[in-house]
Protein backbone atom coordinates (compact mmCIF):
# COMPACT_ATOMS: atom_id res chain seq x y z
CA UNK A 1 0.00 0.00 0.00
CA UNK A 2 2.62 2.49 1.04
CA UNK A 3 4.74 1.54 -1.94
CA UNK A 4 1.83 2.26 -4.26
CA UNK A 5 1.25 5.62 -2.65
CA UNK A 6 4.85 6.55 -3.06
CA UNK A 7 4.71 5.53 -6.70
CA UNK A 8 1.63 7.61 -7.30
CA UNK A 9 3.11 10.63 -5.63
CA UNK A 10 6.32 10.29 -7.66
CA UNK A 11 4.68 9.81 -11.00
CA UNK A 12 4.46 13.46 -12.13
CA UNK A 13 8.19 13.90 -11.62
CA UNK A 14 8.91 11.61 -14.54
CA UNK A 15 7.75 14.32 -16.95
CA UNK A 16 10.95 16.38 -17.34
CA UNK A 17 12.45 13.51 -19.33
CA UNK A 18 10.61 14.76 -22.40
CA UNK A 19 12.75 17.74 -23.39
CA UNK A 20 15.80 15.45 -23.33
CA UNK A 21 14.37 13.39 -26.17
CA UNK A 22 13.95 16.45 -28.37
CA UNK A 23 17.57 17.44 -27.58
CA UNK A 24 18.61 13.97 -28.68
CA UNK A 25 16.69 14.38 -31.94
CA UNK A 26 18.46 17.69 -32.44
CA UNK A 27 21.78 15.99 -31.78
CA UNK A 28 21.36 13.46 -34.59
CA UNK A 29 20.24 16.16 -37.02
CA UNK A 30 23.77 16.98 -38.30
CA UNK A 31 24.10 13.35 -39.38
CA UNK A 32 20.82 13.34 -41.25
CA UNK A 33 21.49 16.73 -42.84
CA UNK A 34 24.93 15.53 -43.92
CA UNK A 35 23.58 12.24 -45.27
CA UNK A 36 20.76 14.01 -47.09
CA UNK A 37 22.96 16.66 -48.71
CA UNK A 38 25.89 14.54 -49.81
CA UNK A 39 24.45 11.06 -50.23
CA UNK A 40 20.67 10.91 -50.55
CA UNK A 41 20.17 14.12 -52.54
CA UNK A 42 22.87 13.37 -55.15
CA UNK A 43 21.66 9.77 -55.59
CA UNK A 44 18.03 10.80 -55.87
CA UNK A 45 19.08 13.43 -58.40
CA UNK A 46 20.40 10.58 -60.53
CA UNK A 47 17.25 8.50 -60.06
CA UNK A 48 14.90 11.41 -60.81
CA UNK A 49 16.77 12.75 -63.82
CA UNK A 50 16.87 9.32 -65.42
CA UNK A 51 13.06 9.50 -65.45
CA UNK A 52 12.83 13.02 -66.90
CA UNK A 53 13.38 13.92 -70.52
CA UNK A 54 16.40 16.21 -70.63
CA UNK A 55 14.85 18.46 -73.29
CA UNK A 56 11.11 18.54 -72.68
CA UNK A 57 11.36 17.91 -68.90
CA UNK A 58 8.42 15.53 -69.15
CA UNK A 59 8.23 12.20 -67.36
CA UNK A 60 9.64 9.38 -69.50
CA UNK A 61 10.72 5.74 -69.33
CA UNK A 62 12.74 6.27 -72.51
CA UNK A 63 16.12 6.26 -70.78
CA UNK A 64 15.37 3.24 -68.62
CA UNK A 65 14.24 1.33 -71.71
CA UNK A 66 17.39 2.45 -73.52
CA UNK A 67 19.43 0.52 -70.94
CA UNK A 68 18.03 -2.64 -72.53
CA UNK A 69 18.08 -1.42 -76.14
CA UNK A 70 21.07 0.87 -76.69
CA UNK A 71 23.88 -1.34 -77.99
CA UNK A 72 26.66 0.82 -76.61
CA UNK A 73 25.15 0.68 -73.10
CA UNK A 74 24.32 -3.02 -73.35
CA UNK A 75 27.90 -3.80 -74.31
CA UNK A 76 29.22 -1.78 -71.35
CA UNK A 77 26.99 -3.73 -68.96
CA UNK A 78 27.96 -7.01 -70.57
CA UNK A 79 31.70 -6.33 -70.19
CA UNK A 80 31.24 -5.20 -66.57
CA UNK A 81 29.14 -8.26 -65.79
CA UNK A 82 31.66 -10.60 -67.45
CA UNK A 83 34.64 -9.19 -65.60
CA UNK A 84 32.74 -9.18 -62.31
CA UNK A 85 31.57 -12.78 -62.78
CA UNK A 86 35.03 -14.04 -63.68
CA UNK A 87 36.86 -12.22 -60.89
CA UNK A 88 34.22 -12.96 -58.26
CA UNK A 89 34.14 -16.69 -59.03
CA UNK A 90 37.89 -16.93 -59.58
CA UNK A 91 38.75 -14.70 -56.63
CA UNK A 92 36.13 -16.44 -54.50
CA UNK A 93 37.47 -19.94 -55.16
CA UNK A 94 41.11 -18.95 -54.76
CA UNK A 95 40.37 -16.84 -51.65
CA UNK A 96 38.47 -19.73 -50.09
CA UNK A 97 41.29 -22.21 -50.78
CA UNK A 98 43.82 -19.77 -49.37
CA UNK A 99 41.81 -19.12 -46.21
CA UNK A 100 41.22 -22.84 -45.74
CA UNK A 101 44.92 -23.59 -46.28
CA UNK A 102 45.89 -21.06 -43.61
CA UNK A 103 43.23 -22.05 -41.07
CA UNK A 104 42.74 -25.81 -41.51
CA UNK A 105 45.54 -26.84 -43.87
CA UNK A 106 47.97 -27.76 -41.11
CA UNK A 107 50.35 -24.94 -42.05
CA UNK A 108 52.37 -23.15 -39.34
CA UNK A 109 50.28 -20.93 -37.04
CA UNK A 110 51.93 -17.65 -37.98
CA UNK A 111 50.79 -18.10 -41.60
CA UNK A 112 47.27 -17.32 -40.58
CA UNK A 113 47.84 -13.93 -38.99
CA UNK A 114 50.33 -13.04 -41.72
CA UNK A 115 47.73 -13.89 -44.37
CA UNK A 116 45.08 -11.80 -42.62
CA UNK A 117 47.39 -8.77 -42.46
CA UNK A 118 48.39 -9.18 -46.13
CA UNK A 119 44.75 -9.43 -47.12
CA UNK A 120 43.83 -6.32 -45.12
CA UNK A 121 46.52 -4.44 -47.01
CA UNK A 122 45.86 -5.95 -50.44
CA UNK A 123 42.11 -5.37 -50.34
CA UNK A 124 42.87 -1.69 -49.70
CA UNK A 125 45.67 -1.52 -52.26
CA UNK A 126 43.88 -0.71 -55.47
CA UNK A 127 43.52 1.90 -58.10
CA UNK A 128 46.47 3.74 -59.58
CA UNK A 129 49.36 2.11 -57.67
CA UNK A 130 47.92 -1.37 -58.27
CA UNK A 131 47.71 -0.74 -61.99
CA UNK A 132 51.32 0.44 -61.95
CA UNK A 133 52.51 -2.60 -60.00
CA UNK A 134 51.07 -4.94 -62.63
CA UNK A 135 52.55 -2.90 -65.46
CA UNK A 136 55.93 -3.26 -63.73
CA UNK A 137 55.39 -7.02 -63.59
CA UNK A 138 53.53 -7.91 -66.79
CA UNK A 139 53.72 -4.79 -68.96
CA UNK A 140 55.72 -4.93 -72.23
CA UNK A 141 58.92 -4.18 -70.26
CA UNK A 142 57.76 -5.84 -67.03
CA UNK A 143 59.93 -8.00 -64.80
CA UNK A 144 58.24 -11.34 -65.54
CA UNK A 145 58.05 -10.59 -69.25
CA UNK A 146 61.78 -9.76 -69.12
CA UNK A 147 62.51 -13.15 -67.56
CA UNK A 148 60.45 -14.88 -70.23
CA UNK A 149 62.26 -12.94 -72.96
CA UNK A 150 65.58 -14.09 -71.47
CA UNK A 151 64.31 -17.64 -71.93
CA UNK A 152 63.56 -16.86 -75.55
CA UNK A 153 59.81 -16.43 -75.24
CA UNK A 154 58.04 -13.09 -75.56
CA UNK A 155 54.33 -13.38 -74.74
CA UNK A 156 53.71 -10.01 -76.37
CA UNK A 157 54.66 -11.59 -79.71
CA UNK A 158 52.09 -14.32 -79.05
CA UNK A 159 49.21 -11.90 -78.70
CA UNK A 160 49.34 -11.46 -74.93
CA UNK A 161 48.86 -7.98 -73.53
CA UNK A 162 48.10 -6.77 -70.05
CA UNK A 163 45.82 -4.05 -71.37
CA UNK A 164 42.91 -6.25 -72.37
CA UNK A 165 39.93 -7.84 -70.69
CA UNK A 166 41.94 -10.79 -69.33
CA UNK A 167 44.79 -8.61 -68.17
CA UNK A 168 42.37 -6.39 -66.28
CA UNK A 169 40.72 -9.48 -64.76
CA UNK A 170 44.10 -10.63 -63.50
CA UNK A 171 44.67 -7.23 -61.87
CA UNK A 172 41.19 -7.16 -60.32
CA UNK A 173 41.91 -10.51 -58.68
CA UNK A 174 44.48 -8.70 -56.54
CA UNK A 175 41.77 -6.95 -54.53
CA UNK A 176 39.12 -9.64 -55.00
CA UNK A 177 40.64 -12.72 -53.35
CA UNK A 178 41.88 -10.90 -50.20
CA UNK A 179 38.33 -9.69 -49.57
CA UNK A 180 37.13 -13.30 -49.86
CA UNK A 181 39.78 -14.44 -47.36
CA UNK A 182 38.82 -11.74 -44.84
CA UNK A 183 35.10 -12.44 -45.00
CA UNK A 184 35.14 -16.23 -45.29
CA UNK A 185 37.72 -16.83 -42.52
CA UNK A 186 35.18 -16.59 -39.64
CA UNK A 187 32.93 -19.09 -41.44
CA UNK A 188 35.82 -21.57 -41.78
CA UNK A 189 36.62 -21.00 -38.11
CA UNK A 190 33.03 -21.94 -37.36
CA UNK A 191 33.45 -25.41 -38.90
CA UNK A 192 33.82 -27.47 -35.75
CA UNK A 193 36.50 -30.11 -35.55
CA UNK A 194 33.90 -32.41 -33.96
CA UNK A 195 31.95 -32.54 -37.23
CA UNK A 196 34.97 -33.83 -39.11
CA UNK A 197 35.72 -36.34 -36.32
CA UNK A 198 32.11 -37.48 -36.17
CA UNK A 199 31.91 -38.05 -39.91
CA UNK A 200 35.24 -39.89 -39.89
CA UNK A 201 34.03 -42.10 -37.03
CA UNK A 202 30.96 -42.92 -39.08
CA UNK A 203 33.24 -43.97 -41.92
CA UNK A 204 32.74 -41.01 -44.22
CA UNK A 205 35.35 -40.32 -46.86
CA UNK A 206 36.89 -36.91 -47.26
CA UNK A 207 34.61 -36.34 -50.27
CA UNK A 208 31.52 -37.33 -48.27
CA UNK A 209 32.51 -34.98 -45.46
CA UNK A 210 32.71 -32.06 -47.91
CA UNK A 211 29.65 -33.08 -49.88
CA UNK A 212 27.29 -33.66 -46.93
CA UNK A 213 28.70 -31.63 -44.01
CA UNK A 214 31.13 -28.81 -44.75
CA UNK A 215 29.85 -27.49 -48.07
CA UNK A 216 26.16 -27.31 -47.12
CA UNK A 217 27.17 -25.22 -44.11
CA UNK A 218 29.62 -23.01 -45.93
CA UNK A 219 27.84 -22.70 -49.26
CA UNK A 220 25.53 -19.78 -48.40
CA UNK A 221 28.51 -17.90 -47.03
CA UNK A 222 30.71 -18.68 -50.03
CA UNK A 223 28.00 -17.69 -52.50
CA UNK A 224 27.11 -14.58 -50.49
CA UNK A 225 30.70 -13.41 -50.39
CA UNK A 226 31.10 -14.10 -54.11
CA UNK A 227 28.08 -11.88 -54.72
CA UNK A 228 29.77 -9.19 -52.63
CA UNK A 229 32.92 -9.60 -54.73
CA UNK A 230 30.75 -9.21 -57.81
CA UNK A 231 29.60 -5.82 -56.54
CA UNK A 232 33.13 -4.92 -55.50
CA UNK A 233 34.36 -5.39 -59.03
CA UNK A 234 31.24 -3.99 -60.72
CA UNK A 235 31.71 -0.63 -59.01
CA UNK A 236 35.47 -0.44 -59.58
CA UNK A 237 36.75 2.40 -61.71
CA UNK A 238 40.21 3.72 -60.83
CA UNK A 239 42.13 0.50 -61.53
CA UNK A 240 40.63 0.08 -65.00
CA UNK A 241 41.07 3.75 -65.81
CA UNK A 242 44.72 3.79 -64.71
CA UNK A 243 45.58 0.49 -66.41
CA UNK A 244 43.97 0.93 -69.80
CA UNK A 245 43.18 4.65 -69.90
CA UNK A 246 39.53 3.82 -70.44
CA UNK A 247 40.11 1.45 -73.39
CA UNK A 248 37.93 -1.24 -71.85
CA UNK A 249 34.50 0.31 -71.73
CA UNK A 250 33.08 -0.88 -68.44
CA UNK A 251 29.91 0.75 -67.10
CA UNK A 252 31.98 2.74 -64.58
CA UNK A 253 34.33 3.94 -67.36
CA UNK A 254 31.39 5.06 -69.51
CA UNK A 255 29.93 6.96 -66.53
CA UNK A 256 33.33 8.60 -66.08
CA UNK A 257 33.47 9.72 -69.70
CA UNK A 258 29.84 10.84 -69.55
CA UNK A 259 30.84 13.09 -66.66
CA UNK A 260 33.70 14.65 -68.64
CA UNK A 261 31.66 15.18 -71.77
CA UNK A 262 28.35 13.87 -73.00
CA UNK A 263 29.62 10.73 -74.83
CA UNK A 264 26.19 9.10 -74.90
CA UNK A 265 24.62 12.04 -76.74
CA UNK A 266 21.95 12.63 -74.10
CA UNK A 267 22.51 13.50 -70.41
CA UNK A 268 19.44 11.45 -69.50
CA UNK A 269 21.15 8.26 -70.68
CA UNK A 270 24.05 8.93 -68.32
CA UNK A 271 21.70 9.14 -65.34
CA UNK A 272 19.92 5.94 -66.35
CA UNK A 273 23.29 4.19 -66.72
CA UNK A 274 24.32 5.26 -63.20
CA UNK A 275 20.93 4.25 -61.81
CA UNK A 276 21.28 0.81 -63.38
CA UNK A 277 24.67 0.46 -61.72
CA UNK A 278 23.26 1.36 -58.29
CA UNK A 279 20.47 -1.20 -58.77
CA UNK A 280 22.97 -3.97 -59.60
CA UNK A 281 25.02 -3.00 -56.54
CA UNK A 282 21.93 -2.96 -54.32
CA UNK A 283 20.95 -6.44 -55.53
CA UNK A 284 24.47 -7.67 -54.81
CA UNK A 285 24.55 -6.27 -51.26
CA UNK A 286 21.05 -7.62 -50.54
CA UNK A 287 22.02 -11.07 -51.80
CA UNK A 288 25.13 -11.01 -49.65
CA UNK A 289 23.20 -9.98 -46.52
CA UNK A 290 20.51 -12.62 -46.97
CA UNK A 291 22.98 -15.44 -47.55
CA UNK A 292 25.27 -14.29 -44.74
CA UNK A 293 22.34 -14.48 -42.28
CA UNK A 294 21.67 -18.07 -43.33
CA UNK A 295 25.23 -19.05 -42.45
CA UNK A 296 25.20 -17.30 -39.09
CA UNK A 297 22.76 -19.91 -37.75
CA UNK A 298 25.63 -22.40 -37.73
CA UNK A 299 28.38 -20.16 -36.51
CA UNK A 300 27.46 -19.50 -32.91
Amino acid sequence: MTAMNVEKRDAPQARPARPKISWAWLGVMPFFIFAFLFLLYPSSTIAIRSLIDSKTHAFTFRYILALFQNNYILRAYWISIQISLITSIGGGIFGFLLAYAAIRGGLPRFMRSALMTFCGVASNFAGVPLAFAFIALLGPTGMLIGWMKALGYNPYFQGFTLFTFWGLSLVYMYFQFPLMVLIIAPAIDGLRKEWLEASENLGASSFQYWRYVALPILLPSILGTMILLFGNSFGAFATAQALTGGQIRLVSIVIGSQLRGDVLGDPGLGYALALGMVIVMALAITGYTVLQRRTERWLR
Binding site: F31, F38, G120, N124
Partner: protein, 260 residues
Protein backbone atom coordinates in the same frame (compact mmCIF):
# COMPACT_ATOMS: atom_id res chain seq x y z
CA UNK B 1 46.43 -38.94 -47.79
CA UNK B 2 46.90 -36.41 -45.01
CA UNK B 3 50.41 -35.59 -46.22
CA UNK B 4 49.15 -35.25 -49.78
CA UNK B 5 46.65 -32.69 -48.52
CA UNK B 6 49.33 -30.72 -46.77
CA UNK B 7 51.45 -30.49 -49.92
CA UNK B 8 48.39 -29.19 -51.75
CA UNK B 9 47.71 -26.50 -49.10
CA UNK B 10 51.35 -25.43 -49.20
CA UNK B 11 51.04 -25.14 -52.98
CA UNK B 12 47.94 -22.92 -52.65
CA UNK B 13 49.71 -20.74 -50.10
CA UNK B 14 52.83 -20.35 -52.23
CA UNK B 15 50.77 -19.36 -55.29
CA UNK B 16 49.04 -16.77 -53.07
CA UNK B 17 52.34 -15.43 -51.74
CA UNK B 18 53.80 -15.18 -55.26
CA UNK B 19 50.70 -13.46 -56.57
CA UNK B 20 50.78 -11.03 -53.68
CA UNK B 21 54.47 -10.18 -53.72
CA UNK B 22 55.60 -10.43 -57.37
CA UNK B 23 53.93 -7.19 -58.50
CA UNK B 24 55.37 -5.39 -55.48
CA UNK B 25 58.85 -6.81 -55.98
CA UNK B 26 58.73 -5.89 -59.67
CA UNK B 27 57.65 -2.34 -58.79
CA UNK B 28 60.30 -1.98 -56.12
CA UNK B 29 63.14 -3.22 -58.34
CA UNK B 30 61.93 -1.00 -61.15
CA UNK B 31 61.86 2.01 -58.80
CA UNK B 32 65.57 1.47 -58.05
CA UNK B 33 66.65 1.58 -61.69
CA UNK B 34 66.47 5.33 -62.26
CA UNK B 35 70.25 5.60 -62.50
CA UNK B 36 71.61 3.68 -65.48
CA UNK B 37 73.44 0.48 -64.61
CA UNK B 38 73.21 0.65 -60.82
CA UNK B 39 70.45 0.32 -58.27
CA UNK B 40 69.76 3.58 -56.46
CA UNK B 41 67.13 5.51 -54.60
CA UNK B 42 67.38 8.30 -57.16
CA UNK B 43 63.72 8.03 -58.19
CA UNK B 44 62.67 8.46 -54.54
CA UNK B 45 64.93 11.52 -54.26
CA UNK B 46 63.31 12.97 -57.39
CA UNK B 47 59.86 12.33 -56.00
CA UNK B 48 60.49 13.87 -52.60
CA UNK B 49 62.33 16.86 -54.08
CA UNK B 50 59.57 17.61 -56.54
CA UNK B 51 57.46 20.60 -55.42
CA UNK B 52 54.43 19.28 -57.33
CA UNK B 53 54.64 15.98 -55.43
CA UNK B 54 54.89 17.77 -52.09
CA UNK B 55 51.96 19.98 -53.08
CA UNK B 56 49.68 17.12 -54.16
CA UNK B 57 50.67 14.75 -51.41
CA UNK B 58 50.24 17.30 -48.62
CA UNK B 59 46.88 18.23 -50.14
CA UNK B 60 45.82 14.58 -49.73
CA UNK B 61 47.05 14.58 -46.12
CA UNK B 62 45.05 17.74 -45.42
CA UNK B 63 41.91 16.25 -47.00
CA UNK B 64 42.43 13.11 -44.89
CA UNK B 65 42.73 15.12 -41.66
CA UNK B 66 39.57 17.10 -42.43
CA UNK B 67 37.74 13.89 -43.36
CA UNK B 68 38.69 12.27 -40.06
CA UNK B 69 37.70 15.33 -38.01
CA UNK B 70 34.42 15.68 -39.91
CA UNK B 71 33.75 11.97 -39.42
CA UNK B 72 34.30 12.15 -35.65
CA UNK B 73 32.24 15.34 -35.29
CA UNK B 74 29.28 13.94 -37.22
CA UNK B 75 29.30 10.22 -36.35
CA UNK B 76 30.34 10.26 -32.68
CA UNK B 77 27.33 12.27 -31.39
CA UNK B 78 25.04 10.25 -33.66
CA UNK B 79 26.29 6.83 -32.59
CA UNK B 80 26.26 7.97 -28.94
CA UNK B 81 22.69 9.29 -29.04
CA UNK B 82 21.47 6.21 -30.94
CA UNK B 83 22.89 4.04 -28.18
CA UNK B 84 21.54 6.13 -25.30
CA UNK B 85 18.53 8.22 -26.27
CA UNK B 86 16.99 7.45 -29.65
CA UNK B 87 17.46 3.72 -30.33
CA UNK B 88 14.40 3.85 -32.59
CA UNK B 89 16.58 5.58 -35.21
CA UNK B 90 19.19 2.80 -35.22
CA UNK B 91 17.85 0.97 -38.28
CA UNK B 92 17.60 4.15 -40.33
CA UNK B 93 21.09 5.32 -39.38
CA UNK B 94 22.71 1.94 -39.99
CA UNK B 95 20.99 1.68 -43.36
CA UNK B 96 22.35 5.08 -44.37
CA UNK B 97 25.87 4.29 -43.17
CA UNK B 98 25.94 1.20 -45.42
CA UNK B 99 24.67 3.03 -48.50
CA UNK B 100 28.17 3.95 -49.74
CA UNK B 101 28.69 0.22 -50.40
CA UNK B 102 25.75 0.36 -52.79
CA UNK B 103 26.66 3.64 -54.45
CA UNK B 104 30.07 3.31 -56.13
CA UNK B 105 32.41 6.29 -55.88
CA UNK B 106 32.07 7.01 -59.60
CA UNK B 107 28.27 7.25 -59.26
CA UNK B 108 28.61 9.34 -56.08
CA UNK B 109 30.87 11.86 -57.77
CA UNK B 110 28.56 11.89 -60.80
CA UNK B 111 25.65 12.77 -58.51
CA UNK B 112 27.67 15.30 -56.50
CA UNK B 113 28.91 17.15 -59.58
CA UNK B 114 25.46 17.27 -61.18
CA UNK B 115 23.69 18.26 -57.95
CA UNK B 116 26.05 20.99 -56.84
CA UNK B 117 27.00 22.68 -60.08
CA UNK B 118 24.01 24.97 -60.30
CA UNK B 119 22.65 27.68 -57.99
CA UNK B 120 21.58 27.72 -55.20
CA UNK B 121 23.97 24.85 -54.43
CA UNK B 122 26.97 25.97 -56.41
CA UNK B 123 29.75 24.46 -54.32
CA UNK B 124 31.27 22.14 -56.91
CA UNK B 125 34.54 24.08 -56.79
CA UNK B 126 34.73 24.22 -53.01
CA UNK B 127 36.95 21.81 -51.07
CA UNK B 128 33.91 21.33 -48.81
CA UNK B 129 32.33 19.11 -51.46
CA UNK B 130 35.50 17.00 -51.78
CA UNK B 131 35.80 16.52 -48.03
CA UNK B 132 32.09 15.73 -47.76
CA UNK B 133 32.54 13.11 -50.50
CA UNK B 134 35.49 11.55 -48.70
CA UNK B 135 33.49 11.56 -45.46
CA UNK B 136 30.71 9.68 -47.25
CA UNK B 137 33.18 7.10 -48.63
CA UNK B 138 34.73 6.51 -45.20
CA UNK B 139 31.37 6.57 -43.38
CA UNK B 140 30.74 2.79 -43.29
CA UNK B 141 34.15 2.23 -41.66
CA UNK B 142 34.23 5.28 -39.39
CA UNK B 143 30.70 4.84 -38.12
CA UNK B 144 31.12 1.14 -37.50
CA UNK B 145 34.44 1.71 -35.73
CA UNK B 146 32.86 4.28 -33.39
CA UNK B 147 29.79 2.12 -32.81
CA UNK B 148 31.95 -0.90 -31.99
CA UNK B 149 33.94 1.25 -29.56
CA UNK B 150 30.77 2.47 -27.82
CA UNK B 151 29.53 -1.10 -27.48
CA UNK B 152 32.68 -2.02 -25.54
CA UNK B 153 32.18 0.61 -22.80
CA UNK B 154 29.35 1.34 -20.38
CA UNK B 155 28.05 4.49 -22.05
CA UNK B 156 25.11 4.91 -19.67
CA UNK B 157 27.10 4.76 -16.44
CA UNK B 158 29.82 7.03 -17.77
CA UNK B 159 27.21 9.55 -18.86
CA UNK B 160 25.34 9.47 -15.56
CA UNK B 161 28.58 9.81 -13.59
CA UNK B 162 29.66 12.76 -15.72
CA UNK B 163 26.24 14.37 -15.46
CA UNK B 164 26.14 14.07 -11.69
CA UNK B 165 29.50 15.84 -11.59
CA UNK B 166 27.98 18.63 -13.66
CA UNK B 167 29.44 17.93 -17.10
CA UNK B 168 27.64 19.32 -20.15
CA UNK B 169 26.94 17.34 -23.33
CA UNK B 170 29.99 18.61 -25.17
CA UNK B 171 32.35 17.66 -22.39
CA UNK B 172 30.65 14.26 -21.88
CA UNK B 173 31.16 13.43 -25.55
CA UNK B 174 34.62 14.78 -26.11
CA UNK B 175 36.24 14.63 -22.63
CA UNK B 176 34.69 11.39 -21.34
CA UNK B 177 33.43 9.19 -24.18
CA UNK B 178 36.02 10.04 -26.85
CA UNK B 179 39.12 9.17 -24.74
CA UNK B 180 37.47 5.91 -23.68
CA UNK B 181 36.98 4.73 -27.25
CA UNK B 182 40.20 6.18 -28.65
CA UNK B 183 41.38 2.77 -29.89
CA UNK B 184 38.25 2.34 -32.00
CA UNK B 185 38.44 5.95 -33.20
CA UNK B 186 42.09 5.49 -34.13
CA UNK B 187 41.38 2.43 -36.22
CA UNK B 188 38.54 4.23 -38.00
CA UNK B 189 40.82 7.24 -38.50
CA UNK B 190 43.69 5.27 -40.02
CA UNK B 191 41.35 3.37 -42.29
CA UNK B 192 39.86 6.69 -43.44
CA UNK B 193 43.40 7.97 -43.92
CA UNK B 194 44.29 5.01 -46.16
CA UNK B 195 41.07 5.47 -48.15
CA UNK B 196 41.58 9.21 -48.72
CA UNK B 197 45.28 8.90 -49.62
CA UNK B 198 44.55 6.20 -52.21
CA UNK B 199 41.35 7.71 -53.57
CA UNK B 200 41.48 8.73 -57.22
CA UNK B 201 37.95 9.34 -58.44
CA UNK B 202 36.68 12.19 -56.25
CA UNK B 203 39.73 14.44 -56.53
CA UNK B 204 40.07 13.71 -60.25
CA UNK B 205 36.51 14.69 -61.09
CA UNK B 206 36.25 17.56 -58.62
CA UNK B 207 39.58 18.85 -60.03
CA UNK B 208 41.40 19.13 -56.72
CA UNK B 209 45.06 18.39 -56.01
CA UNK B 210 45.58 14.92 -54.54
CA UNK B 211 48.12 12.10 -54.50
CA UNK B 212 46.38 9.45 -56.63
CA UNK B 213 45.42 11.67 -59.59
CA UNK B 214 48.93 13.16 -59.50
CA UNK B 215 50.40 9.67 -59.65
CA UNK B 216 48.11 8.69 -62.54
CA UNK B 217 49.27 11.79 -64.40
CA UNK B 218 52.95 11.02 -63.69
CA UNK B 219 52.44 7.48 -65.02
CA UNK B 220 51.96 8.98 -68.48
CA UNK B 221 55.00 11.27 -68.19
CA UNK B 222 57.68 9.28 -66.40
CA UNK B 223 58.80 5.74 -65.66
CA UNK B 224 60.69 5.43 -62.39
CA UNK B 225 59.07 8.13 -60.27
CA UNK B 226 55.57 6.56 -60.44
CA UNK B 227 57.14 3.27 -59.36
CA UNK B 228 58.59 5.01 -56.32
CA UNK B 229 55.18 6.56 -55.61
CA UNK B 230 53.45 3.19 -55.93
CA UNK B 231 55.87 1.76 -53.34
CA UNK B 232 55.28 4.78 -51.10
CA UNK B 233 51.52 4.34 -51.44
CA UNK B 234 51.80 0.66 -50.62
CA UNK B 235 54.00 1.41 -47.59
CA UNK B 236 51.43 3.92 -46.33
CA UNK B 237 48.57 1.43 -46.73
CA UNK B 238 50.65 -1.18 -44.92
CA UNK B 239 51.53 1.27 -42.14
CA UNK B 240 47.90 2.27 -41.67
CA UNK B 241 46.78 -1.38 -41.49
CA UNK B 242 49.70 -2.21 -39.20
CA UNK B 243 48.83 0.58 -36.78
CA UNK B 244 45.20 -0.54 -36.77
CA UNK B 245 46.09 -4.12 -35.91
CA UNK B 246 48.60 -3.00 -33.25
CA UNK B 247 46.22 -0.60 -31.47
CA UNK B 248 43.31 -3.00 -31.97
CA UNK B 249 45.35 -5.97 -30.68
CA UNK B 250 43.41 -8.94 -31.91
CA UNK B 251 40.02 -7.29 -32.15
CA UNK B 252 40.85 -7.34 -35.85
CA UNK B 253 37.60 -6.69 -37.63
CA UNK B 254 37.80 -7.18 -41.37
CA UNK B 255 39.27 -3.96 -42.68
CA UNK B 256 38.20 -3.66 -46.23
CA UNK B 257 37.56 -0.79 -48.49
CA UNK B 258 39.40 1.63 -50.66
CA UNK B 259 38.80 3.17 -54.03
CA UNK B 260 39.15 0.51 -56.66
Amino acid sequence: MRRGNKVWWWFVMIVGILYFFLPLVATFIFSLKAKLGVLSFLAYAHVFNSPSFVYNFSASVIWAVFTIVAGILIFLPTAYLIRLRVPQLRTAVEFITLLPFVIPAIVLVFGLVRSFSQPPLLIVNSPVLLIAGYTVLSMPYMYRAIDTGLRSIDVRTLTEAAQSLGAGWGSILFDIILPNIRVAILSGAFLSFAIVIGEYILAQYLAKPAFAPYMAYQMQQKAYEPAAMAILSFALTWAAMGIISVVGRGGGQAQVGGGH
